[in-house]
Symmetry: C2
């Protein structure tokens, strides 16, 4: 096991009716700004519950943080927050609203342009932030990360600041999610865990078991959710898996990968594909191309998660890779670039960007431009 | 899944050489008191590493917090700390030293006798506390609980205050532990997980998988540790399992039991048996007597943790109970009261105490005095 430091201070407030706790969680005299995405929270009752919970308080609202939150939008929110001397933020929505609000929370304490902070990568002087999560997927509700886009240059980068003070997760609020968003959330959760698991074997039995437990859970609940997304316990396990998949709980003392994510971010930046949908494609390329490097862990994953224990090692790995692709397909997601009309032009552009940035992602630091090309060609 | 609130702010600083981080973790101008148990930290090098890490600082030391820390000892530590206006505590040792120091941290901020706080059960106005853990077992390094004894009355009660600010866990520091302490630590970890797992089935797939993952890990590493307790990765997984077994990470949204612990505490109070050793006995009684109530979970536990999937339900449960008792025996621990010379007198006293207190422990609130008698008779 590698040395590590772990600390996650977010208070998780989980369950039916928990939005009513907001008044206890936000200091009474806060100059509060609440941030939102589109209007879905008005249709599913979340907005009304938030208003009821904060009855008697004053706040300002910022609407319109889009999927893959853009610096162009967030600058406006920062300007509004500054004007009103905002000292507490409440993000109400999915991972994009929370991610965007993390940058707002930093931007409010930074005099220059907030894009500087994204390029810097980390900024921890922030306004306190709480969240009400409506879409299980990114884990942003219980981690310090965010991903911010810049439309004018089609760039998309990770940014780190502080953990939310609290996050309210009410599984009932997921009942109205569209099927595609649920599928992308399941895919995102699955690949988050994989980025922390499918690397070097033998680092930590505990972390392996916990990662496998999340994968097994997602695989078990996915078809059941397709049948009934109004089953509270199913959606509760989905929400809990998504949060636990990227809050550091399965990352203690183990190496991490994240190459699939970095390639996926480029597909979103260039084509606007939903994050989880990009992962469902790219991950199939990653495990095919890095099959040798990940051999021991692929065998373990196949045996423990899919029960694939018969046959030669090569046969077992083949079947494990097939089972993984079939899982993504069962979610109703594409697993090949061609299904999304993406081809050589995009592959060449991603290779160029990786080369230009001089990056080498993955646990072996070998996912450079040319390796990214190989991965993309393997899921073409 | 039940509604829950989860927050665990402890910073875990894990790995080889991490004691050297102490100076970063304790504010420079602290009026520090360091607390210890017996002299083992002088023999295993921990004391010297702590001194080296804090070179140039001043502190006072309190030695002699015993296993099952006693109010009689802790009062002396509180008096010493008060005299020196201590405002930061560092506990160096196992769970007993940490538990005792939690009461010291509360007692320093309370004017009356600290036993009042134990009877009150919870007190959160405390002096900040950090820990250097030397014995994986209780999980006290990353939770808010403690168990405090009173020798003059042979009482032993749980007490809750604040989480340690930080805990340093260096697996190398466990290499010199005596075999019996390791066995008791493994037993303690195993039963901690069971108290949060072997209750009602179907509450959370994620929590079930994570609890099973810890049980599988403990079962896998126990015989290997008996062969070689100097294997870093083995002891690292042991330490991580013990901490993760009682820090709230496997308790989200699920019912809990704790009847075995409450009965075990009485055995310690009355006979001075090590905590983990009491659990290795009592748990066998609990699962025999509450077999019907825990039926669904016993079948799941047998199948997933022990691979017991053949035969009728009754046969599978029988084999699961046998496998569990055999596991404790493989640690070199007694699984029957008679092996420790404990008989009717103690059973009657525990029944009397439970009846007098009017308690009803366990997930079904049915472990009263008479049920405690049945459990103890089943492991007699």
């Amino acid at each position: 096991m590698q040395n590590f430091v772990f600390q996650n201070p977010t208070k998780l407030v989980f369950g039916k009716g928990m939005i009513s706790k907001l008044a206890e969680l936000i200091p009474a005299n806060s100059r509060l700004m609440i941030t939102f995405g589109g209007g879905s929270v008005k249709r599913n009752g979340v907005y009304d519950e938030v208003k009821a919970a904060l009855a008697g308080r004053e706040w300002i609202e910022f609407w319109g943080i889009e999927p893959n939150p853009a610096i162009e939008t967030l600058r406006k929110a920062i300007a509004l927050g500054r004007e009103h001397k905002v000292d507490f933020l409440l993000a109400v929505g999915g991972g994009s609203v929370i991610d965007g609000t993390k940058l707002i929370s930093a931007g409010l304490r930074y005099e220059g342009d907030a894009w500087d902070l994204v390029l810097k990568g980390c900024y921890t002087d922030t306004v306190p932030l709480g969240t009400v999560l409506t879409l299980p997927a990114t884990g942003s509700e219980m981690n310090s990360g965010a991903v911010i886009s810049r439309h004018e240059t089609k760039e998309k980068y990770a940014f780190y600041s502080n953990y939310p003070r609290f996050s309210i997760l009410d599984p009932e609020k997921t009942f109205t999610l569209p099927e595609h968003q649920i599928a992308c959330g399941l895919s995102d959760t699955f690949v988050h865990v994989m980025e922390q698991y499918l690397t070097t074997a033998g680092q930590s039995r505990v972390m392996d078991r916990w990662a496998e437990g999340l994968l097994q859970t997602v695989i078990e609940i996915a078809p059941k959710i397709r049948e009934n997304k109004h089953d509270y316990d199913l959606m509760a396990d989905f929400m809990l898996s998504a949060t636990m998949g990227l809050n550091g709980f399965v990352a203690m003392g183990v190496t991490q990968d994240w190459a699939t994510h970095m390639i996926g971010h480029e597909l979103t930046a260039l084509h606007g594909l939903t994050h989880g949908a990009t992962l469902a494609i790219v991950f199939n390329g990653t495990i095919r191309v890095l099959r040798e490097q990940k051999r021991a862990k692929l065998l373990q994953y196949g045996a423990r998660v899919w029960g694939i224990v018969e046959g030669t090692e090569e046969e077992r790995i083949d079947r494990t890779i097939e089972a993984t692709e079939a899982f993504f397909r069962s979610l109703g997601l594409s697993t090949r670039l061609s299904e999304e009309g993406i081809g050589e032009e995009t592959i060449a552009e991603i290779e160029r960007r990786f080369n230009e940035a001089g990056v080498a992602y993955g646990e072996a630091h070998n996912v450079t431009g040319s390796m990214a090309r190989r991965i993309l060609e393997a899921c073409r």
